[in-house]
Structures are given as structure tokens and as C-alpha cells.
């Protein structure tokens, strides 16, 4: 338990944006890897979303595309973006305090930024409207309150806290194409793949973990990884639909 508390202290001191933490010397195991795609890339073409329902969308951003499947075609092998990787099991009964920094969810160009993200239970989520139009934010949460509110003006913000572990989709009912994916954790060990398709879970205590990858189209995948103190291990996932 002592170690757990130490981690908490360290987290409180130095956590930024939920992931990435300056851990103490003996809590610095790292699991990293990439999300590889094997299959027919052409089957999952992105297409442009017609935003002409609301001319204000184009004023912020000229063109937006479908978001469900995004590949990083320049990496080798081809990797997948917007995959949430997180520790599913193995932390025991350690508890972690949520960082003070809020997570920012922006609506810009009638698109959510970021599209997939994690947040810790109790951490503040700031929802911001960056468009000169009316947005509606509809949480399809299962455990947490199903917030459903409107931000009619540019620059409006609203702070929320999500209190329990949950996985859900957020939608804008005014611009039906807008959606983003939120996962609420009670620990800070989660990451989302970006343009290079890699992830890194830092500052883990030594132990045996089940880590899971989640993609909104390709689904869930998990594997077990054991790390010793200070060790860095690689865990690559491959989606082959």
C-alpha cells in the first residue's frame, strides 16, 4: 500500500492531461507498442462529411471527414489512429487521485477535438464551443449522468465531472455527424494512438497487467504483460478484420 500512496503523491505533483507521469524511481515500468492493421485498407475509405446544413461549420474548418476508421498510411506497417489502450486489470486495490488539470473537449468546425480520449473519474472535463453556431452535447453514458445541454454561442464553456468508470459516446444532436468517444478510468494508465499509431503507458509499478485496446469500429483486444521495476516492454496489437 505504501507504494501506492507514493504514486498518488507523485501523481498529484506532476500529472498532466491524465497520462504521462513522472513516477518515482521504482514505479517506472513502461509498456509501449503500436496498433497495427492487417487487411484491406481500401475497404475503409474516409469520405467528406457534408456540413452544408450549417454554413458556420465551414467558416471554422473547410472540410471534415468521417472519423470512425483512420489509418496512418505513412507508417510501416500501417497503423490505426484513435485506439484507446489502457490497463484493464492488475493494479490491485491501489487508488489514484485525479489530476487538477481539466481535460478540454472542443467543438471546432463541427467536429469534436479530440475524437477519442480518456479522463479520470473526478477530473474536470471542460467542454468548449469554438464555432459561431449552436452545438448540443448529448452524453450517452450508462453509469454517469446523461448530460444533454446546449452551447449556442462561440466561446461558451461548461465544466463537468464524471464520477464513475464508464465508456460512452458523445453526440451533437444539432449536427448529427458529430461524435466522440469518452472513457472514464479510476487510474491514470491509458493512452490514445495518434499519427504514429503508438502508445505508451508510463510509470507503472512492477506487476502483471492485462492491457486492452479499444477501437470503435474494430472492437476490443487484450493481452497480458508482466513488467519488472524500471523495465520497458513492448506490446503490439494487430487488428486484422
Amino acid at each position: 500500500m505504501h507504494r501506492g500512496k507514493a504514486i498518488v503523491l507523485a501523481l498529484v505533483g506532476a500529472l498532466t492531461m491524465g497520462w504521462g507521469c513522472q513516477a518515482m524511481a521504482d514505479d517506472n515500468a513502461v509498456i509501449k507498442g503500436k496498433i497495427v492493421f492487417k487487411g484491406d485498407v481500401a475497404k475503409y475509405k474516409r469520405s467528406t462529411i457534408k456540413t452544408n446544413k450549417d454554413p458556420q461549420c465551414k467558416k471554422s474548418k473547410k472540410k471534415i471527414g468521417t472519423y470512425a476508421v483512420i489509418f496512418n498510411k505513412k507508417t510501416d506497417p500501417i497503423t490505426v489512429r484513435n485506439v484507446m489502450v489502457y490497463v484493464k486489470d492488475g493494479l490491485g486495490d491501489r487508488t489514484y487521485k485525479a489530476p487538477d488539470e481539466p481535460v478540454l473537449l472542443t467543438q471546432f468546425g463541427c467536429e469534436y477535438k479530440p475524437h477519442v480520449f480518456g479522463i479520470m473519474a473526478g477530473q474536470t472535463l471542460t467542454v468548449k464551443n469554438g464555432d459561431a453556431t449552436n452545438h448540443n452535447i448529448h452524453f450517452q453514458s450508462k453509469v454517469n449522468t446523461q448530460h444533454n445541454f446546449t452551447q449556442p454561442k462561440k466561446g461558451m464553456t461548461k465544466d463537468l465531472t464524471l464520477l464513475k468508470e464508464d465508456t460512452f459516446f458523445v453526440k451533437c444532436d444539432v449536427h448529427p455527424w458529430m461524435g466522440c468517444h469518452i472513457q472514464v478510468f479510476d487510474h491514470p494508465f491509458f493512452a490514445v494512438t495518434g499519427k504514429d499509431g503508438t502508445f505508451e503507458l508510463k510509470g507503472l509499478p512492477a506487476g502483471k497487467y492485462t492491457i486492452e485496446a479499444f477501437h470503435e469500429k474494430f472492437g476490443k483486444m487484450s493481452m497480458t504483460v508482466e513488467v519488472a521495476s524500471g523495465e520497458t516492454k513492448t506490446a503490439d496489437f494487430t487488428y486484422a478484420p
Binding site: Q140, S141, N144, T145, N148, F149, T150, K171
Partner: protein
């Protein structure tokens, strides 16, 4: 009911849990006036958003933040600007409060309870304890409704009509809150309490009118007000249960996961067959609610207007110093109106995909029901002919009722014919139409009734100067509020729009909206005359005799205020209700209870 107590009742039994119809009537009156004012405050807030969409509300915004706390303000009025959800909640609650907690309890609960037993010479209502239960059910329903403003997500915001599926999917309870604690669910629970209240009340009214009339008071010697209450009670008795059934069904949809009003293949916000985070089977019918709802809500319209006509008839007969013209025609029209009101409900649903034959049927019944309304109005106007009209304060309100109700009734015609209803349905034209019936119509009648019976209730008269000022400003402002709505409606502006300037036809008539809003705020200011007059007159008004208006009906032969049991000796009735200006008499009124000219 068997209590043979001679001892003085304690404070609670006398004023709070009283079984005396007069105390209950006053309780109803005060509570309902408070609700009426509260409902009016809600609409004054709405009018700000309508006139100046998206602008922070001056004064009130800050005041509410103080009053309700920063958290509440952050959810409903961030920065003093109301959110669309809050706007919808205000609209829905304005309708509900005004109808179910304001006007009906005033007309039936307050005037009916206080005046009706006196007018039939009864010592009390037939079931005094049930009368008390009726009031407390009403109060409980009101408290439940109001408490919904405090739960997360706010009060019910699916319109006062609560059409499912919207009302079934709206406002899932917040995490950690019991399932009943969401605005719409509380609305339904509150409605069930209110329906129970009106059921108890209406049984009591009918039994009282049938059983407890004094000797000599035949049905055709009843004052028209009593007839109006009688028909109203039947409407309440028979029309409300279907809404109770509908309310229970919707409650099940919200709480128990049924899908009575939820069809198959529902996709809410991209989620298939998921409502409030719960999977549903589907297979229901959204129109079922509308049928059950309007089966109540159309008779409800007559519940709102008949007692008001009763009040106006009383005041007109008294102040023209002559009998009502066509008393029997009035009574028959009222009864016919009551019957017909049960078979016109679907004219609220012309736009739901109705075929020619069904729409023709309901259009026909609607046209038929307009005839008795025309007869009643005509009879009341002709009653003025050959009279000696006294312009007393209550008479001013009663007279104003006539043209206002005429506007309200006439503008119902284009809405009752399906074809002209197409462009006007669900626009401000509808709002203008029924507000002309209920606000400048019924509410003016209510004010008239308060000025008229105030001397009976307190033994004092309300101040005439203040009363006249109140009348003039109320009358002007009402018209400034509601007349522009017809133009907005013709222009095509839908009701319940958070920001009508989004549409070009809405932006074009925004000036009218602003006029209307200013009218509403002025109307609020004009009520100051009434408040001052009302409270000052209770203690400081001019003391008057038992029969200050020189009226004929029985209530004026009782002392003011009437003691427990109402009449010292049981009155006996010798003649009809409006024996004014009988030829050959020295006085121009001949009370129902007088044996000969005193």
C-alpha cells in the same frame, strides 16, 4: 363525520385542516393565486428570451443566481442567459401551472367551493372531509410540480402536452438520483395527485348540487354560476380519468421500461432502441397518448371557460338590474357544450396524418360546438339591452370579458377547419386564440369574481379607484400581449421556439414579439394595483352590509362573512335567481329567499 364536538376547534383544525367549505375555498384561492402569479413570473422570463434572444437577463438573472445558488444558475442560466432546456421547462411549467394549478383551482376550488354551497343555501359541501382531502391533494400535486425545478435536469420540458416519445426519452434521472427524481417523472406524479384532487372535488360538487339544495330551489331556479359548476364537475369527473390512465402508462414507460408510446425501430441520438440508457422492446404507438390526452384536454378547455361564464353571468345580471336574457337557453347551451366537448378532441390532431372522413367528422363536431358558445355570448350581450348598467369594478371586468372571449372564440374558427388549420397549426395564432379565451377571458372573469364576492368573504369592499386602475391597465396590457400573436401566427412563426429569429418569417415579426413582451411586463406591473388593493382591503376596506350589491341570490342573505354552518336559519327559496326590477316594487331587486317585499 360523526363528530359531535361543541368545543372550539384549535388553530390547525380551524384554519389549516379545516373541513369548512369557506375556509377550504379561501385556501384554494390563496394557493391558486400564488401559483397563478408564479406561472406568470415564468412567462415574464420567457418573454425576455423571446424578445431579446440570447441576451443576459437584467436583474432577474443575478437575482436567481443569488437565490438558487451558483450551481443551479450554471446549469440553467449561465451568465444570466437561459438555456434552451430551461426555456422549454419554463414553457411547459407555465402551461401546466396556469391551467392545473392556477385557473382551474381558482374557478372550481375557490369560487366553486366558497360560493356554490352558499348559492344553494347549503350549510356545507356534502362531504366536508373529502373536500379537505381534495385541497391537500391539490397542494401536494403543486409542491411536487414545483420541486421539479430543483432536481438536476430541471422541471419537465416537453411541453404541457408532454407528447411522447419526447417526454418518454427526455430527462433521464441524474446519476445517483432515485428514478422518480427527474422533471418529467415528477410532472407525471404531480398530475396524478392533481387528477385525484379534481376527482374528489367533482364528486363532492355534483352530490352537493343534487342533494343539498334548500327547499324551493329547483334546478331551474339555480343561479347560472351553479349550473356552470355542475356541468364543469361532470367534465372533470369523466374527462380526467383517461389522462390519469395515460399518465400511468407514460410513468411506466419512463420508470419500468415499457414501450407503450415508443414504436419499433426508434433511433434516439444514433442509439437503436435505447431509451434512458435502457433497451426497450418497442411496438407502441405515440398517437395513443395524444388521443388520451386530448380526450381530457378538450373538455378541460370548457372547464376553464364555463365557470368564468358563470361568474360573468352573475355580475351582469346584478349590474344590469334585470334578469339574464334567455336563462334556459344558457343552461341548455352549457349542458350541450359539456356533452359535445367529449367528441371534438381530435381537432387538436389534424396534422397527425388524418384522412378526409375523420377530419371532416371532427371539423363538423367542432363547428357544432361553436354554436352554443355563440348562443351563450349572444345571450350575455343581449342581457345588457334594456338594463340600467352600473359600472362597478366587477362589472367592468365582466363587460371586458365579453369582447375578449368573442375574439378568443372567433379565432378558434380558422383552427377548427382543417384546411385553414394547416398554416396556423402549432403557430402563435393558436397561442393567441386560447390565451384570448383563458387570459383576457377567464382571468378577467376571475378578477371580476374576486371584486364581486370579496365583500361576502371579508365583510369589506375593495377600493374602487384602485380597482378601476387595475382594470384599465390589465385590459390594455392583455391586448398588447396577445394581439400581436395573431400576426406572428399568420406570418408562420411556430410556438415553443427558443429563438424565432432563426427563421426569416420570425425575424420579420420580431418587432411584434418585443411589443408583446413589453405588454407582458407592463401587465405584471399593473397587478401591483391589485395586490395593494387586495391586502389593504382585507383589513382596511370600507365595511359594507351583507348585501352591498343589492343582489338576489341566496349567498347575499347570509351574514358577511358567513359563520360556520352559513345560515342562521335554513333559507327557503320562493323564486328564480334574477328577479331584478320587478314592476310595482319599491326596490329594484327581489331576493330569492324573501317571502314578500320587506
Amino acid at each position: 363525520m360523526s363528530g359531535e364536538h361543541h368545543k372550539e376547534l384549535g388553530f390547525f383544525r380551524k384554519y389549516v385542516f379545516s373541513v369548512d367549505h369557506k375556509v377550504i375555498g379561501i385556501q384554494y384561492g390563496i394557493t391558486a393565486l400564488c401559483f397563478l402569479f408564479f406561472g406568470f413570473c415564468l412567462i415574464m422570463m420567457i418573454r425576455w428570451q423571446l424578445a431579446y434572444p440570447g441576451e443576459p437577463m437584467p436583474l432577474i438573472g443575478g437575482l436567481l443566481e443569488r437565490l438558487m445558488g451558483a450551481k443551479w444558475a450554471e446549469e440553467f442560466m449561465p451568465g444570466g442567459r437561459m438555456t434552451p432546456d430551461f426555456y422549454n421547462a419554463l414553457g411547459a411549467m407555465h402551461g401546466t401551472i396556469m391551467i392545473f394549478l392556477g385557473v382551474v383551482p381558482l374557478l372550481v376550488g375557490a369560487f366553486g367551493n366558497y360560493v356554490m354551497p352558499l348559492q344553494i343555501g347549503a350549510p356545507d359541501m356534502a362531504f366536508p372531509k373529502i373536500n379537505m382531502a381534495s385541497y391537500w391533494c391539490f397542494a401536494a400535486g403543486g409542491v411536487i410540480m414545483l420541486s421539479s425545478f430543483l432536481v438536476p435536469g430541471g422541471a419537465a420540458n416537453s411541453g404541457w402536452t408532454s407528447y411522447p416519445p419526447l417526454s418518454a426519452i427526455a430527462q433521464p434521472p441524474a446519476a445517483g438520483w432515485p428514478i422518480l427524481f427527474s422533471g418529467q417523472t415528477l410532472w407525471l406524479v404531480g398530475m396524478v395527485a392533481l387528477i385525484t384532487s379534481s376527482l374528489l372535488g367533482s364528486v363532492n360538487f355534483i352530490v352537493t348540487i343534487i342533494q343539498l339544495r334548500v327547499k324551493g330551489l329547483t334546478m331551474f331556479r339555480l343561479p347560472f354560476f351553479v349550473w356552470a359548476q355542475f356541468v364543469t364537475s361532470f367534465l372533470l369527473l369523466l374527462a380526467f380519468p383517461p389522462l390519469e390512465a395515460a399518465g400511468v402508462l407514460q410513468l411506466m414507460d419512463r420508470v419500468a421500461g415499457t414501450s407503450f408510446f415508443l414504436p419499433e425501430g426508434l433511433v434516439v441520438s444514433g442509439q437503436v432502441a435505447m431509451v434512458q440508457g435502457r433497451e426497450i422492446a418497442g411496438g407502441g404507438n405515440p398517437l395513443l397518448w395524444q388521443h388520451l390526452f386530448w380526450f381530457l384536454a378538450h373538455p378541460e378547455v370548457y372547464v376553464l371557460i364555463l365557470p368564468a361564464m358563470g361568474i360573468v353571468a352573475e355580475i351582469i345580471a346584478n349590474n344590469t338590474r334585470k334578469p339574464l336574457w334567455g336563462y334556459r337557453a344558457l343552461v341548455y347551451s352549457t349542458v350541450f357544450l359539456g356533452f359535445m366537448s367529449f367528441i371534438v378532441w381530435a381537432h387538436h390532431m389534424f396534422m397527425t396524418g388524418m384522412g378526409t372522413s375523420i377530419s371532416a367528422f371532427f371539423a363538423t363536431t367542432t363547428m357544432i360546438i361553436s354554436i352554443p358558445s355563440v348562443i351563450i355570448l349572444t345571450a350575455l350581450i343581449i342581457s345588457l339591452y334594456n338594463g340600467a348598467i352600473r359600472f362597478t369594478t366587477p362589472m367592468l371586468f365582466a363587460l371586458a370579458f365579453l369582447p375578449m372571449f368573442a375574439i378568443g372564440g372567433l379565432t378558434g374558427l380558422p383552427l377548427g377547419l382543417p384546411v385553414s388549420d394547416i398554416p396556423l397549426h402549432d403557430t402563435y395564432y393558436v397561442i393567441g386564440h386560447f390565451h384570448y379565451v383563458v387570459a383576457p377571458g377567464t382571468i378577467l372573469a376571475i378578477f371580476g369574481g374576486i371584486y364581486y364576492w370579496f365583500p361576502k368573504i371579508t365583510g369589506r369592499k375593495m377600493n374602487d379607484t384602485l380597482g378601476r386602475l387595475h382594470f384599465v391597465f390589465t385590459f390594455i396590457c392583455m391586448n398588447v400581449v396577445f394581439m400581436p400573436m395573431f400576426f406572428q401566427g399568420l406570418a408562420g412563426v411556430s410556438r415553443r421556439l427558443f429563438d424565432q429569429t432563426q427563421y426569416s418569417w420570425g425575424a420579420a415579426v420580431q418587432g411584434w414579439t418585443i411589443t408583446s413582451s413589453w405588454g407582458a411586463w407592463m401587465l405584471g406591473v399593473a397587478q401591483i394595483f391589485f395586490f395593494i388593493n387586495f391586502f389593504w382591503s382585507i383589513w382596511g376596506g370600507k365595511k359594507v352590509s351583507n348585501n352591498p350589491w343589492e343582489a338576489t341570490t341566496i349567498e347575499w342573505s347570509a351574514p358577511s362573512p358567513p359563520p360556520h354552518g352559513n345560515f342562521a336559519t335554513e333559507p327557503v327559496v320562493y323564486r328564480g335567481p334574477y328577479e331584478y326590477s320587478v314592476p310595482g316594487m319599491s326596490k329594484d331587486f327581489f331576493p330569492q329567499t324573501a317571502v314578500t317585499e320587506a
